[in-house]
Assembly symmetry: C2
Homo-oligomer: 208 residues x 2
């Protein structure tokens, strides 16, 4: 049987609650590795190097790009963000599932390079509900909410290019959907390719 | 949300136990419809028209082919077998999942016509195990077992063209894998296409 871990890419618009869903899933699956991104932006208060992000200088980031040290990388508002390749590949080889929580642009880069990666997009039950959730935080003014909604609309245009869609009605339901998706993804013909070939080879030897 | 039923195509080599797995799944999901095939072969003892098969004459079968009345049809050992289209499409429209238990050749025809169909192939844990299961029935002589094994080897060559693979270790485990696959298949971007478009349209109206 295939012993390689599953590469899971998790995206969704800001405010949809994808971080909470992922936290719930990881609590139930502590053996799954969460990939820590690298960035050139400055740490915010409370952010810990190596836990929230690897905070790199522009030179360090550029040098890693040149060494093909990123699975994907992208630029937002003048800062670079990227997924360090080595830790991800080592975990997968050991049979450990790895989750990346990244933007649409990076997700499609990953799929392009690793067709076996499973792309999951978290959607709100409706656009009105996303509006309510963003406004309901109460921490942002109307203009910020509008800007986030408009970003969300743009991000959701990529949903169709993802493999699976989770509709986040409740956190528990969404985490359980993710669980089913991970199990099913480990039963695709692509993931079980080596196993299929083994059985086929035995069949050939036996039935010649 | 998408209310259309899922079209599930179930195949696997003779002796792998796919009928038993399906029976276990259908017991837990009595709302799923099982498609009864049509055939030109004669009923065996105990077989009931409309339950095990629709037994048709060659003329009736040919006339249904001409009216495009089959989702798929194929010929084995001089007899025709086919899936009547109407009952399947009516159930799907009503939001009822439909299972077809058919051969590889027909399964690939269905996928070709209905890219949304989910193809599931049941494999034995190993080829030796399939040998044991076929021989263990004790109802067939060695030559028959050899012929079935050789058929199984040929059938399994198509496994890679299926969407999902179930490895039948135990019936309960295999039925539960099928359950997860059905749930995940209802969360693909293809299946949820209408829902995605609805949310996108709302987003456009809201953010213009």
């Amino acid at each position: 049987m295939n012993k390689k871990g599953l590469l899971l890419v998790f995206s969704g618009p800001s405010g949809v609650g994808k971080g909470t869903v992922l936290k719930e899933y990881l609590k139930a699956h502590p053996n799954t590795a969460f990939s820590v991104s690298a960035t050139t932006r400055s740490p915010r208060e409370g952010e810990v190097h190596g836990r929230h992000y690897f905070f790199l200088s522009h030179e360090e980031f550029q040098s890693l790009i040149e060494k093909k040290g990123f699975l994907e990388h992208a630029q937002f508002a003048g800062n670079h963000y990227g997924t360090p390749r080595k830790a991800v590949e080592e975990s997968l080889e050991k049979g450990i599932d790895v989750v990346l929580e990244i933007e649409v642009q990076g997700a499609l880069q990953v799929k392009n390079q690793n067709p076996d990666a499973v792309l999951v997009f978290v959607m709100p039950p409706s656009f009105e509900e996303l509006h309510r959730r963003l406004a309901g935080r109460g921490t942002e003014d109307a203009a910020t909410v509008e800007r986030r909604l408009s970003n969300a609309a743009r991000e959701m245009e990529a949903a169709k290019q993802y493999d699976y869609i989770i509709v986040n009605q409740t956190v528990e339901e969404a985490a359980s959907q993710l669980e089913q998706i991970v199990c099913a993804a480990k039963h695709t013909a692509g993931y079980l390719n080596e196993f299929i070939e083994e059985v086929e080879d035995d069949a050939k030897t036996c039935c010649k």
